[in-house]
Amino acid sequence: MIIVGSLLLSATKDFPDWGDQDSPANDGPVSSFYIEKTEEKTKVPNMVTAVLADYRGYDTMFETVVIFIAGIGIIAVLRTYGNNDSTPKNQVGDEGAGLLAKITCSLILPFIQLFALYVVAHGHHSPGGGFQGGVMLGASYILLALAYGLARAKSCFSEKRTLVFAVVGIIIYVGWGVLCLIMGKEFLNYSALDSILPGGVEMARSHSMLAVEIGVALTVTAVMFSMFSNLSTKGRLDKGL
């Protein structure tokens, strides 16, 4: 361990200094292209979102698929159906947390969800995007489950609806790519959609980013909640923490 660590440390002297503007990573053609051309080509001020959803669209698509597979995998590993008689009956009930927590959560939940939707929808103008907003939205349901018990959260966001959301998110993303194919350009080349979206080629790319971000957000929301509910109940989905 110490040998590996000292080898790595001895390599750091060849690394660029902190905040070096002319380091290979910062001065290379790819990064410079992203910074200088992103707004001109896509009308999206947030370069991170633009690179994520447009230039590196394949990466993000399969990343979404990775999330989806992780969610499916957790369900496959943990989920048990039918009533399990080995369940101890004297567990803490599903009534949720105390009164104070319930009232606080009911006050704060709408704002969390609103902010999550804002982060998704405004992700290409300010910090945010599909993953971040999706996690926030998922966290709002987790908070609901923590405060009011999992049964209450499941009445809003049932297991079936979770799976449907996850699949619909993937389908939106992939379908958007296929739509580009149908319109005569490459898969996920959003500039193909300028004839059906308003505002020219640049705005078509901008709108397409929003569309795929919505798909990503749906999948992430669903998988986050599904992960929580399966992990906290050992797959029985009956009683929360």
Partner: protein, 165 residues
Amino acid sequence: MDIIIASFIEEVIVPKFNYWIYVILMMIGLFAMITKNNLIKKLIGMAIFQTAIILLYVSVGVKSEANIPIISHHGHQEHVEHAQDENHSPKPEVSTDDKSEKGDHHTIDKDKFANPLPHVLMLTAIVVGVSTLGLALAISQKVHGSFGTLEEDEILDQLKPGGHD
């Protein structure tokens, strides 16, 4: 001796302190993954390891005097003033003349924005990290369900043919 240590810290560690922290964090994570017996502790080590790599990438993308990689329309005036201040620097493409020629396509000085590429890559890494961590937790929960323990040696004992089930 003190002078040697002080100059070592000043010249070697301070300009590269992000890499030092990354190496130290990564070694902590690797140590936990290799030596710890408990599966959850191994997972914590894995998470620390991932954090170290995220720190490495994001710190490579840092530029001094750069802002977040979001082009601001509201702070445009300030941007121009800033550009005039640094007109003597060898970056001639940032000048107010350029801007007036190209209309509202104002040129963008890449030194004014942090490198977006590491951020994008690390967004991917964070998401994949969450997925693997969730799946690993699920599997370890299942392991605990069938073996009654998360200690690796006890699990291996039970898996031996002669071991008690």
